[in-house]
């Protein structure tokens, strides 16, 4: 959306973006942050859907998501005070999305049923060569183009060095373009002629390692996918364009711990180098910085007791909070020009609508 060098407040991003991608390392409250951003946007009158991959159970409950049910359509989240707007949530199930795609693309029901019943398909559906990530963006493309929402927020799985999700279309294309895949998807007669040494070796090794039955299933699975490649390739291109569109914003979520800051720095560079729009950084879970004590208190003379405990805690909190600010500076330097929002560690763990609403207010500075 905005080029690096220009700042954009989270509040204005929520007002204008049509797709928002949150990313960051694990354990920094990324999913919670995505949900809170959804609430903030809905309260500004926008029709929002938040798509998550692996929400914690209590957060899922708060959003009305049943983690054991395989959902395909988003559910409405109630009680968020969305004046004129709305908030829906969806937990993405890669297998369900993959099945849907097969049914849509296979052309006829018999063919689809055959693929869905194939044991090789069943064991790899949703995760082969980054297919899980691919399914996530396939689904967000559908939601984005459905016309039902003003803003789609996608919470990506935790990632360290690169954003797997963004590379998913290319990885799937590379896989489909692999010579073995090509040979395996050819009609059987030409297959015998063109099958190269590599493909023969592949099938020989699969047979040798896992038995002849698996070979038959593998070949059948790949053949049944033939003809779908064109559609997949086109969709991958559309998604790649969508992710780089002006109305798409990336929000990087981190915590002030050095491990998280290191990972976030890598991620920030990956986002910027990939030509995506990094529009905001949120540093979550920041300890409050208490004022320092003046030297009117003689610490040496203070024996053990409740005041000593207060002083000891104050000292530790001050040291921790100070070092967090030092670590944060490293990330702030890398993303210079991008708006950085600090969100304090709350006295409570956030996992209900009230907590999310409070977090939403902190994010947009209300």
């Amino acid at each position: 959306m905005s080029a690096v060098g220009e700042t954009a407040q989270l509040a204005s991003i929520l007002q204008t973006a049509s797709l928002l991608v949150t990313c960051g390392p694990g354990g920094v409250g990324k999913t919670t942050g995505a949900a809170a951003l959804g609430i903030a946007a809905a309260r500004r009158g926008r029709r929002v859907v938040v798509v998550t991959v692996d929400p914690a159970r209590r957060l899922a409950d708060a959003l009305g998501i049943d983690v054991d049910a395989k959902m395909f359509e988003p559910h409405e989240v109630t009680g968020v005070g969305a004046a004129g707007g709305s908030l829906e949530a969806l937990m993405l199930d890669a297998e369900t999305t993959f099945d849907r795609m097969i049914i849509e693309r296979a052309g006829d029901e018999a063919k689809a049923a055959k693929i869905l019943a194939n044991p090789v398909y069943r064991s790899i559906a949703g995760s082969l060569a980054g297919a899980q990530d691919y399914m996530a963006i396939e689904r967000l493309h559908q939601l984005h183009s459905s016309g039902l929402y003003d803003l789609v927020i996608i919470d990506t799985p935790p990632s360290r060095d690169a954003i797997d999700l963004l590379e998913a279309p290319e990885r799937l294309m590379r896989f489909l373009g692999h010579p073995i895949y090509r040979a395996l998807t050819m009609p059987s007669r030409s297959f015998a002629k063109v099958a190269n040494a590599g493909t023969s070796a592949f099938l020989w090794i699969v047979r040798r390692l896992a038995g002849p039955r698996l070979v038959e299933d593998t070949v059948e699975f790949f053949r049944s996918l033939s003809g779908m490649e064109q559609g997949l390739r086109q969709r991958a291109g559309e998604v790649a364009d969508l992710l780089r569109a002006d109305s798409t914003s990336f929000v990087l979520v981190s915590s002030p711990r050095s491990e998280a800051i290191d990972e976030s720095t890598h991620l920030a560079n990956a986002i910027i180098d990939g030509g995506f729009g990094l529009d905001a950084v949120v540093i979550n879970l920041v300890h409050p910085l208490p004022p320092a004590l003046d030297d009117s208190l003689d610490l040496d003379a203070l024996g053990e007791g409740p005041l000593a405990e207060h002083v000891a805690y104050h000292r530790e909190l001050l040291a921790l909070a100070t070092s967090e600010r030092h670590e944060m500076a490293a990330l702030t330097d890398v993303v210079s020009g991008v708006h950085v929002t600090e969100v304090p560690l709350l006295e409570i763990d956030v996992h209900d609508i009230d907590g999310l609403t409070r977090l939403a207010a902190l994010l947009v500075g209300e």
């Binding site: 354990g27 070796a201 024996g303 405990e309 909190l317 921790l320 030092h326």
Partner: protein, 314 residues
């Protein structure tokens, strides 16, 4: 002081939700065992190379390297890329050189590495080979973060369902047998005293113990503030109790930290009580260090704290 879960079995799989510090705890355990004279091999499954520097050595790669020597003991470290595990596996199974070349020309290693389940099984299989070859006194395995940890450890069981025969099946059987044998392998779970990590740890503990028969070492609760019951008193009352006069600035500063600290400490007590109630595992508490930085100094402090915590329990 060496806990039994470090000396009893060769393989220790360390797992926890992202952000709870399981990689750091794994490194601290490796250091603790090395201090006791053990030759320790730390394996990062998810390629967390940085843990090598944390131990004072080079970032990890697929070469087995010494990261740190402590008296008679030492910590070595490496990663296991699935591609390499596949190549090693073909060699081990006596697949001929010609065919191996064809396989590598066709980039079969990258296909195997990208096939879910198989990729994890290849890595676990390699760990099992290292255990069988007695490559170290202790092999600390830094598992992928939470959701993925379960998938990683379940890979053998999952493939047992799909593959009925052949070497892949044998491999899956052997890995499953290692995981379920408490004389060979333990699991070490790491959590924080916070709601979501506690919930996910409880779920993971039941999953690993009941479904895989993995024997669990005491639960490590990382990042605990010392419990300070005196902080329930107001700052003013606490000062009075110790007959100390506070400047108004100091009182205000202490009130800021106390207000935040009491709530967090309450939360911590609640989560520890939930663990008591819901998870029948002994616990070891590790302190939250008063810094956001993590380096070799901090790792030594954590190993000290781990050692003290183990002694406190016995």
């Amino acid at each position: 002081m060496q806990p039994t879960w470090v000396t009893e079995a060769t393989v220790l799989v360390v797992a926890g939700k992202g952000g709870v510090g399981s990689t750091t705890v794994g490194a601290a355990v490796a250091l603790l065992a090395a201090r006791g004279g053990a030759d320790v091999l730390l394996i990062s499954v998810d390629g967390r190379e940085g843990v090598g520097s944390l131990l004072g050595g080079a970032p990890l790669d697929s070469e087995d390297r010494v990261l740190r020597k402590v008296g008679r003991g030492r910590v070595r470290g490496r990663t296991i890329p699935p591609q390499q595990a596949f190549a090693d596996y073909l060699e081990l199974k006596g697949i001929s050189g010609v065919l191996r070349k064809a396989a590598s020309a066709a980039q079969l290693d990258s296909i195997a590495a990208a096939t879910p389940g198989l990729e994890h099984l290849l890595v676990l299989g390699k760990i099992k080979e290292l255990e069988r070859a007695q490559a170290a006194d202790l092999i600390v395995v830094d598992a992928p973060p939470a959701g993925h940890a379960a998938a990683f450890l379940h890979s053998a069981a999952a493939l047992q369902k799909v593959v009925a025969s052949g070497p892949v099946r044998t491999q899956a059987d052997e890995v499953a047998a290692m995981l379920a044998d408490r004389t060979r392998c333990h699991g070490l779970l790491v959590t924080l005293p916070e709601e979501t990590p506690v919930n996910e740890t409880i779920e993971l503990a039941y999953d690993l113990e009941e479904d895989l028969g993995l024997d669990l070492a005491p639960l490590i609760v990382n990042g605990c503030w010392p419990d300070r019951p005196g902080m329930t008193l107001s700052v003013t009352a606490a000062a009075k109790a110790q007959s100390t006069k506070l400047s108004s600035a100091n009182r205000a500063a202490l009130e800021v930290s106390a207000e935040f600290g009491r709530m967090r400490l309450d939360g911590q007590r609640r989560q520890l009580a939930r663990l008591d109630e819901l998870l029948a595992l002994p616990r070891l508490l590790l302190p939250r260090l008063p810094t956001a930085h993590l380096g070799t100094v901090e790792l030594d402090l954590l190993a000290d704290a781990l050692s003290a915590s183990v002694e406190g329990r016995t």
